[in-house]
Symmetry: C2
Subunit: 134 residues, 2 copies
């Protein structure tokens, strides 16, 4: 069912030093910061030949990653995103297998403008998973 590894998201307190390390020490191509107020994050994309890393910084009062960053002040992997062809079929398959789909199971429009769902980390080796309809 799952397809490509769309991205790995790393949440940090401050984007600029994190982006500078990827650009400088690691020599990667890094986009300009993009504020996404409706998602409560500012994002920078590290472009790799086969996938990407998203660096996320909390934005606004009610950022969904604020608590995570407070618990992980040095930064940490926040989630991994896999692509699926049909997000509703994916949701149903997950539920049939007893996995918890967050937020009531209705896909939302994610940071890339596509339908997404998040899956409970306790059901997936402690890792928060995003599914994105590609």
């Amino acid at each position: 069912m799952i397809g490509r590894l769309n991205h790995v998201a790393i949440a940090v307190k401050a984007l600029e030093p994190a982006a500078a390390v990827y650009r400088g020490a690691l020599g990667a191509s890094v986009s300009a910061p993009q504020p996404l107020p409706e998602h409560g994050v500012t994002v920078v994309f590290v472009e790799l030949p086969n996938s990407k890393i998203e660096l996320l910084e909390p934005l606004g009062e009610a950022s969904p990653i604020a608590d995570f960053v407070a618990r992980n002040p040095k930064g940490a992997v926040h989630h991994i995103c896999y692509e699926v062809d049909d997000i509703l079929a994916a949701r149903d398959r997950l539920r049939d297998n007893g996995a918890r789909v967050l937020g009531g199971g209705d896909p939302k429009i994610g940071a890339h403008g596509k339908p997404v769902l998040f899956l409970h980390p306790n059901d997936f080796s402690g890792v928060l998973i995003e599914l994105e309809q590609a």
Copy 2:
């Protein structure tokens, strides 16, 4: 400098239930467990079209991931591996940029039979990074 995202490694207490979720609920292609006693882990590969996930379970008395799994009993992302063309040139660039290369900076032969280095998570947004000469 960095090239492809070679893999994301997720460390777990027990491989079989973690692999079963990737195979079942997520419908991915998952390899048979492969013990790597010289690396102190047993590994399972989740094959994705553009990259892979490695599920790691501690193996033996002195597994290098034993403490990590004890601290993260539900599982967690252990490291992210990027490919590089020339691991010694990569090491020198990292040092020139003030980043810490672990283990004295001499590449070791990694789980895929290729030269690898690990980079200090505190210099990379809290994430342990493996570089593998592709």
